[in-house]
Amino acid sequence: MRVAFKTLGCRLNQYETDALAAQFREQGYEVSEQEEGADVVVVNTCTVTNQSNQKSRHVISHAGKVNPTAKMVITGCMTESHADQLHQKFPGATIINNQAKSGIFQSVDALLKTGNPVLSNKDFDLFSYQSFTEMFHTRSLVKIQDGCDNFCTFCIIPFVRGRAVSRPANQVLQNVREVVAKGAKEIVLTGVNISRYDHQGLKFSGLLDQILNVEGDFRVRISSIEPDRFDDHFFSLVGHPKLAPHLHLCLQSGSDRILLQMRRMYTVSEFMSIVDRVRARDPRFNFTTDVIVGFPGETEEEFEETMDVARRVGFGHMHIFKYSVRKNTRAERMPHHIPDAVKTDRSQRMHALAEELKAAYRAPFDQTEQRVLVEKWADGKASGYNDYYVPMVFDSDNKKRNRFEQVVARVQDFEE
């Protein structure tokens, strides 16, 4: 039996898909990212923006057209926000919400064996995912947290992922030890709001410290993190040989007034203070970020403030989102929504700046010696990311993936 997985959205969704796929493989199923020839297609949806909804619907429809005989299973955040629509549009599909996602194996297994996708609440909880390494990604994702209580005014995620909950530290450490034992070279810590990690008084920096002290040859990458809970302990860990010098630190806006309207829990100066303290320890440290342009009431000057912060930080990469109304969020009811043409114009200008900044950040790494985790090999060239999350490529006869190599390499985009 073959199960195909299609994943949209965030790292947490990627983690959950990879973990589910590992479970299917361990139970004797073939797993794939291609829907052709599959007996079951599992689509892990995203609802963070309107575009995410459209993409999710498109992926489901497309999979149904490519392989109409496959049984369709839909999960992820869209099943929380648009359950009725999904039921109507895809009446033959089995829809499994986020809470039950970790029980998809039991459900699909039952569906194929009995025609009935039964699922008991004993079959799932938020953290009962299989440990894995090297499924659809070379990096081994480890879930440390789920849910969010921040309730930023633009964001639907607290409504679809639920209240913040932290995975017990012993489970996280066990998961890390397991994937390192299986050969993982890069651990990516994931969650909805990992800066709020708090399990029995152990905060994120304390957990990170313990993870960094797990034995083995691996590096730890922190995925997306909010800039509102950094403590001295965290800064003391910057420079640790196992901690990848890269943070995806969510800015959202460079205007203090807009940050307040977004109900973000930091100011621009606090954001910059994190950047400055980290760069004082490692001047090349890579900051990537998320930015929303065209939030209700955002003036041209406030947009320019965000551009200015981006220049000051010199982001290595930016995810730029045009503000997208999410139903039942506070921002939906705010006055002065920005016309789409203005949002598009600001988005284009921000993208142009982002490309400029990315090239400037990456340039000093080109043709220098770097430690690269090889993820791909083709036609005599190995490629992967260096510690700073810059994609590198170099000539190699060694086709082996998931290995560190200390080598003079080129930045991938800079190849002639």
Binding site: D149, N150, R161, G162, R163, M265, T267
Partner: protein, 219 residues
């Protein structure tokens, strides 16, 4: 995954403070919270809810919120019409606008509120009466100094912008400029966005580190 779910709470009392502002006291129904957190509240058969910081203290038997009617609003006019024995829907409390658990008793605190933004401070003070605080309350008229008798003598300052009946004639920002704070003060700001924005800048100018300024914005 635990989602926020709505439960029905019976109204015990509606206490009018001004023609447009009232306190709704409701059954607690086991709702747990920390002083400073907020809940969503709405009429029982409506589809709309609004966020309210909890006005009462975690140790109180009942639950209270402070509501100002927005005449064109979808929720507050309906809440205003409710009577004791009627119900409202409420979900569980969330939010991080809370005092540190290990706060020293002598730690100076500044609370700055505009209008009904006084709610979390009412909860703070009722929960921990020994706090060393000063509360600046920005309102238009002295009649909007909601239940000022609940605050210890000399700690509450009504800053009135439209009449001279308060403790200070002018806005909270004027008061702060004339009465600078000690930079060691922990500052909590709750209310409208513009007030918070302006007060934040003033406090930073007076030497308060942004790490020591906490905000809860009302819209």
């Amino acid at each position: 995954m635990r989602k926020r779910s709505f439960n029905l709470h019976k109204i015990i009392e509606k206490r009018d403070l001004t023609p447009s502002t009232f306190v709704l006291r409701m059954e607690r129904n086991g709702l747990e919270f920390v002083a400073g957190q907020h809940i969503q509240v709405g009429p029982p058969n409506g589809i709309h809810t609004r966020e309210y910081s909890i006005y009462s203290a975690p140790g109180d038997k009942d639950l209270e919120i402070l509501v100002r009617e927005v005449e064109t609003g979808l929720v507050t006019p309906a809440l205003k019409k409710l009577k004791p024995e009627d119900g409202v829907v409420i979900n569980d409390a969330v939010g991080y606008f809370t005092l540190p658990g290990d706060l020293a008793e002598e730690q100076p605190l500044l609370f700055v509120a505009s209008g009904t933004g006084i709610s979390p401070f009412h909860s703070f003070v009722k929960d921990r009466p020994a706090l060393n605080y000063r509360l600046l309350h920005g309102v238009r008229y002295a009649s909007e100094a909601y239940e000022r008798e609940d605050y210890a003598e000399g700690r509450y300052v009504a800053c009135t912008s439209q009449d001279a009946g308060g403790d200070f004639k002018g806005r909270v920002t004027d008061y702060l400029r004339q009465n600078p704070v000690n930079p060691d003060t922990l500052c909590y700001l709750c209310g409208n966005c513009d007030m918070i924005h302006e007060v934040f800048d003033i406090l930073e100018e007076q030497g308060v580190k942004s790490d020591n300024i906490f905000t809860e914005v009302y819209f």
